[in-house]
Amino acid sequence: MIVNRVTLLGNKDHGKSTLIGSLLISTGSVSEQRINDAKKTSKKLGRQFEPGYILDSFQEERENEMTIDTTRAQVKYKDTGFEFIDVPGHEELMKNMLSGASYADFALLIVSAKKDEGITEQTKRHLFVAKLMGINRIIVAVNKLDTVGYGKDRFDEIKTGITDYLQRIGFDAESISFVPVSAYNSENLVRRSKSMKWYKGNSLIDTLVELSHSRKRSNGKELLILLQGTSEDDRKSVFGKVLSGELRKGERIKILPDGKEADVKQIFVSGRKRSKATFGNVVTLELNREIGNGVKGSVACTNTKACRVESSADALFFDTRPLKGRLSIKMNSVEIPCRKVVIDRTVDIATGNIKNNGSIKPLQAAYIRLTFPRDIAFEDFEKIPELGRFVLYSDKKFAGIGVIKDQSR
């Protein structure tokens, strides 16, 4: 079964862990033992039963009622598999949120309808980074409607606010579903709630099933293989992963950025001898010659125009700590030092407005230009995601994420 990976998004305390916990219970996806454990913990802490404890397993998470690190839990419903990725909502834990969300196929945003909660800057920030990471499919759960008397007005107010923001940052907001829920009471999660008769749409899980049937990524035309290394026993064999296109036995490949060439004598896909390899395969290629050490991070292709080979790149960047000292990026699974990182324009995440501004602070975004000491092989994120996304380090410490976006094309 193909499992759809759904990241939760949303401000702290708006109910992400509670919602997943309730979904796990109401779809029968979690053992009695784990539910009982969560019940016992709740009792010991002198609290009402908290479904979120099924996800929040660390002692510190339960005692402080906050998710510290990302986790996952699977749900099967009507022959569709889901893996929910729980993430922390706190601003200072963005690196953990990004780590979880980076695996997602689509996103489920939670906004609390409770008085004084609603749409916050962090709600918007999560949406912004999801968009940056290429998550284009979103569902919105408006939570805690039980605290506002199940009022349609509050639901509509949040729906309008989110729709407006999504449009500002370039989402196709028309197609986005909003579901009013109470995660704690399991209302509208699996079964429709009697308290919200004004809502005519599907339950949350049925909305997710519908979304999971929408388009999947298709294979590209040009061959691109990310190389991971050389075999220790046979220096003519290289390891890699096919990111796009197809390779047939006997074809000549070119290795970028170096430009070396070799003929493919034999192809092994996941260790089995095959006459061709395609999109997604992990391969071993037996070549007619050694292409030397240092192939890790290089890209094999048949058409050298299939990706870019340049020493600078434009990118959209989200920052998590002050940029100082030695900067480097990790892209194509290798670390590449940056000679220069120039801030071009900054983006105001709260409004989506772009400003000509030369500085950036943590939790902000900017269009930047990276310069490397040598040519590297990469591609625009929208064309080949794997070759166009990176993590930035400032003095070896994680400082943010970015995606390659050529401004001139």
Binding site: M1, I2, V3, S31, E32, Q33, R34, D37, T41, I54, L55, S57, F58, Q59, E60, I68, D69, T70, T71, R72, A73, Q74, K76, G81, K95, N96, L98, S99, S102, Y103, Q228, G229, S231, E232, D233, D234, S237, F239, K241, F268, S270, G271, R272, G280, N281, V282, T284, K296, K330, M331, S333, E335, E386, R389, V391, Y393, K396, K397, F398, I401
Partner: protein, 262 residues
């Protein structure tokens, strides 16, 4: 329990093990002769052209099952494994926390020091326990083997970080995404040799294998792979229910893992 697509799980595990091999100077794997770490070795053979290219470590407290020792020696010979056995001392009164937390960890520390390994491949899975679900694929341990779970490094997409200055080693978890039933599906599909203790005898089988002190069999009629897979699809009990209970309770697992437990 969801049966996932084993082809994509296989691809991801192979990718991760190759990253481990190329990112570190001196990689080793832990092998308990259980279903998960044996599956990991089968995957390593696919990743590296038919050969497991790193040493495999068995931390032996001398009280594993006879079948387990037999299975170890047979497979080590058949797959030409570079096997390192580290002996840990066991006392009769030891179990759970004292044994797995302190005892086995001491033996492993000794081996890491002796051989200078900078990365260890460990076959844990997210669905085993809530604490394991919080792990990263590349997960640093400091020189005392401590897991700084309150401040884990960022890990995005398939860019695994080996940036770690804590003077310890990195745990690599290629099977994190697999479910218990996926392991059995893969064993069936790839005909991975398996320890006979997993199959039902006299109405009982081992679902999770530890040493003789801490593991008890579960009631089961599953005598072959198909029956095990069928049983798992329907079960509502936890995989590690047959493990010594104190290890699984409340925060003991968290403390064990923070201390370096596997």
């Amino acid at each position: 329990m969801i049966k996932q697509d084993i082809k994509s799980l296989e691809e991801r595990s192979i990718y991760i093990m190759r990253e481990a091999k190329s990112n570190f100077k001196n990689v080793a794997a832990l092998w308990s002769m259980g279903k998960d770490s044996t599956t990991m070795l089968a995957l390593a053979r696919k990743a590296f052209h038919g050969k497991v290219p790193f040493p495999v470590i068995h931390i032996d407290n001398g009280i594993d099952f006879p079948e387990t020792y037999q299975f170890r020696d047979d497979l080590a010979k058949k797959w030409k494994l570079d096997l390192i056995v580290g002996n840990s001392i066991i006392k009769p009164e030891m179990s759970g926390y004292a044994c797995c937390g302190a005892n086995k960890t001491v033996a492993l520390k000794k081996i890491l020091k002796e051989y200078g390994f900078d990365a260890l491949i460990v076959s844990i899975r997210r669905d085993e326990h809530g604490i394991r679900a919080k792990e990263r694929v590349f997960s640093p341990r400091n020189k005392d083997f401590k897991w700084n779970y309150k401040n884990q490094a960022a890990e995005l997409w398939d860019n695994y970080s080996s940036n770690d200055d804590s003077d310890g080693h990195i745990r690599v978890h290629p099977l994190l995404d697999w479910n218990e039933v996926d392991i059995w599906n893969y064993i069936k599909k790839e005909k991975v040799p398996m320890n006979p203790l997993y199959f039902s005898r006299d109405g009982y089988r081992y679902r999770s294998l530890g040493c003789t002190h801490c593991t008890t069999p579960v009631k089961s009629k599953a005598k072959n792979l198909d029956q095990i897979i069928k049983e798992l699809e329907a079960t509502d009990t936890e995989e590690r229910a047959g493990r010594d209970q104190d290890k699984e309770k409340a925060y003991v697992m968290e403390k064990l893992r923070a201390l370096g437990y596997l």
